[in-house]
């Protein structure tokens, strides 16, 4: 095997790590906002992602059946729609369910699990039990080959840029916007925030909905690399939680860091051992680290009240 081959493989493997990183990050972000900022465990996170995926499917159906010129361009639109739909669903869920359960995190966990079961059945009734495949625009499914033997998946690049965009967006929103201010205030001290005239209930709802919306975007993006079916969400939920907890629920940077760490661990070990054992090694490492640093990598150290 020639030197250039080795270089190519190294590059592509590095890219593999990066794209897994961005996948995990996309999964985690929405949850990081909900779980990290509000301390709510949303077990239905995966299903909100599925909403996004099915949104893409519906758009692609439109494109196929009614408006063929639409096909190459519908994807970005569909992603916005995915955010909107998931956001709406999240809004409703918060109003109907979550808001009654703050201060009872473990119960929220059970309730949202129930929610996820219900949503799965809804998907099944609406879209049928079989998997569907949105016809994706060709520009998304190809690969970019700067030199022979080196192929960079475009969908990987796409997911990556989306991840960067969303992370940036969230950071900006959290630290530069009124909403972010309200959220952080509410997180820091609910009573105070209330006293300061912040409508914390509304903030909660908005936060939750935004988190779900981001899940929707992630799900939409994953149609480019994964499957779309009633139970697709269940493929993601655990990883999402591990990313968030591993990073330290409180901090977004933690989420980024842990997504990166896990991704590298996974893809490197995958390269040197078989997939199954790689999976186990990664999970074990995560659990052990969590046992040593229960609050995650980036726990902020404050006086225990």
């Amino acid at each position: 095997m020639s030197a250039s081959d080795i270089l190519n493989i190294t590059l592509m493997q590095g890219f593999a790590g990066l794209s897994l990183f961005s996948v995990l990050l996309l999964m985690g972000l929405g949850l990081a906002v909900i779980f990290g900022q509000m301390g709510v465990i949303n077990m239905a996170h995966g299903e909100f992602m599925t909403i996004g995926a099915y949104t893409i499917y519906m758009f692609s159906q439109l494109a196929d059946n009614y408006w063929h010129g639409f096909a190459p361009v519908y994807f970005p639109l569909a992603i916005c729609a995915a955010f909107a739909l998931a956001f709406a669903a999240g809004w409703v869920a918060e109003w109907a369910l979550i808001r009654h359960l703050y201060r009872r995190p473990l119960d929220t966990l059970l309730a949202t699990w129930g929610l996820s079961l219900g949503m799965q059945q809804v998907f099944r009734s609406v879209f049928g039990p079989k998997e569907v495949s949105p016809t994706l625009p060709d520009w998304l499914m190809g690969s970019w080959s700067p030199k022979p033997g080196l192929d960079i998946p475009i969908n990987g690049l796409f997911v990556m840029s989306l991840a960067v965009l969303m992370t940036g967006g969230v950071l900006l929103a959290l630290y530069r916007s009124r909403w972010g201010l309200r959220v952080r205030a509410t997180v820091a001290n609910r009573q105070m925030a209330n006293a300061a005239g912040i409508d914390t209930r509304k903030t909660d709802r908005l936060t939750f909905a935004i988190g779900c919306g981001m899940a929707g975007v992630a799900g939409a993006a994953f149609t480019a690399i994964g499957s779309t079916g009633p139970t697709s969400g269940s493929l993601y939920i655990v990883d999402s939680f591990l990313v968030v907890t591993f990073g330290g629920a409180a901090s977004l940077l933690g989420t980024v860091a842990s997504a990166f760490g896990i991704a590298q661990m996974q893809s490197i070990s995958e390269f040197f051992m078989t997939g199954s054992s790689a999976r186990v090694v990664t999970l074990l490492t995560i659990v052990i680290v969590l046992m040593l640093r229960p609050q995650g990598l980036f726990a902020s150290k404050v006086r225990r009240a």
Partner: protein, 421 residues
């Protein structure tokens, strides 16, 4: 027979129209049915307390309607329904209409066990058409053997099994694998193979057989890689890079479920497309292509005994009936067809035995032929598997397969292949 029955029944539309016009035909059928029922008194055809009356025989259907496996098992449910309705429309079995009790295995092996117990010990069904994964079959097998039930199992599987109480209407591993590999070697000049699979018994056993065959029976061929990923894995970039290093002539893939979709999408995105790379799989039927997307799988090859696009009259009838019942968009994969065979094989055996008693049906089964099988012609082997042909289909962008090769004659089922274990 009532009006709706006919509409329900998936008979070719021409035939149905005829029946609809002259309802006379229906009573005629029914009458002859009753006549035959008297010809086979219940006391004679059912000496083992099965759920058989003078006018009805009850069978069970046990698949996953919910859970992750529903994706795959729905096709089988539909095909078995179709077959049973057609049988009923044609007068039933020994003059008795088939009544179906459907149970949901919910993609959960223990539930399969529970439901099979219920069907056998509670409902005393004469036969069960069901299961899809090996795990669910393994879970119910002891129950069928204890209660001496009768199971028709539709999925191609790893073999290494043969039960008095089970008929395997799909292919066992060697039937599906060996001829396909020979073809890959002779026609496609493949010398180096990269074996990949989801991490459970069927892919592992199948790859084991494949490896043995490649290394011992195909001259100058070698396996350059063998990899397994947990069920539900959605990221295959590392694997794809390993494949790029190994540069195999042939990727031999046995990945299932959601992973399947992820794998082929990422394969395409990594620049490994049919025009550059030869890939042969035994785990992708028309059903899976639905999820993967025809454009992402186009050009790759599948080794199956059945493809929806098969050119023969049986299949034309079958496909027409299926689509008439389940809509023009519905697709038919290998397992769906195999599931469709179940009720017909059972009917043939019962009529040959002149009894519903399991032991008699089992005894009568070996040698039974089905000339009307969509896949062509099948025959039950003494080892409860089917003689069948193996075909190679090349996937088209529209999600259909173009049959490019077909084994010259029926391949004998060999669930315990010597030298391959």
């Amino acid at each position: 027979m009532s009006h709706d029955d006919q509409n329900e029944s998936g008979m070719p539309s021409a035939l149905r129209r005829k029946l609809l016009m002259g309802l006379a035909a229906a009573p005629a059928l029914a009458v002859s049915g009753i006549a035959r029922a008297q010809q086979f008194p219940t006391a004679k055809v059912n000496t083992t307390h099965l759920a058989v009356t003078d006018t009805e025989v009850t069978v069970g259907q046990l698949h996953s309607a919910t859970g992750t496996m529903a994706i795959s098992e729905t096709g089988s449910i539909q095909a078995e329904r179709l077959a049973i309705e057609q049988i009923n429309a044609a007068g039933g079995i020994l003059g008795r209409k088939i009544k179906v009790i459907q149970e949901d295995g919910a993609s959960d092996w223990p539930t399969f066990a529970e439901k099979s117990k219920k069907l056998l010990e509670n409902d005393h069904v004469a036969a069960v058409f069901g299961c899809w994964t090996s795990a669910s079959r393994k879970a119910v097998l002891p129950i069928f053997e204890r209660d001496n039930g009768l199971l028709y199992y539709p999925t191609f599987y790893e073999g290494l099994e043969q039960s008095h109480n089970v008929f395997y209407t799909g292919q066992e591993a060697t039937q599906q694998i060996l001829w396909g590999l020979n073809w890959a070697n002779q026609t496609k000049k493949a010398k180096s193979f990269f074996l990949i699979g989801s991490d459970y018994i069927w892919p592992r056993t199948s790859n084991k057989i494949a490896r043995k065959h490649i290394e011992q029976h195909l001259s100058g061929c070698k396996v350059v890689g063998e990899e397994y990923y947990p069920l539900g894995t959605t990221n295959f970039n590392s694997l794809i890079n390993k494949i790029k290093i190994a540069k195999p002539d042939c990727i031999y893939a046995i990945i299932v479920g959601g992973s399947n979709v992820a794998f082929y999408k990422q394969l395409k995105a990594a620049g490994i497309t049919a025009d550059k790379q030869f890939l042969l799989t035994i785990s992708v039927t028309e059903d899976e292509v639905l999820g993967i997307g025809g454009e992402n799988f186009a050009g790759f090859y599948s080794a199956m005994k059945y493809f929806e696009s098969l050119e023969n009259d049986n299949n034309k009838k079958f496909v027409a009936a299926f689509k008439a019942k389940y809509g023009p968009k519905s697709v038919i994969g290998d397992v769906t067809q195999a599931a469709y065979l179940g009720p017909w094989l059972w009917k043939a055996a019962v009529e040959k035995a002149g009894s519903f008693d399991v032991d008699k049906v089992v005894a009568a089964s070996p040698g039974i032929e089905l000339k009307s099988a969509p896949e062509g012609y099948v025959k039950i082997h003494a080892n409860h598997h089917l003689w069948s042909r193996t075909r190679i289909g090349q996937a088209q962008a529209d999600g259909q397969f173009k049959v490019v090769a077909e084994s010259p004659d029926l391949i004998e089922p060999n669930p315990f292949p010597k030298g391959y274990q």
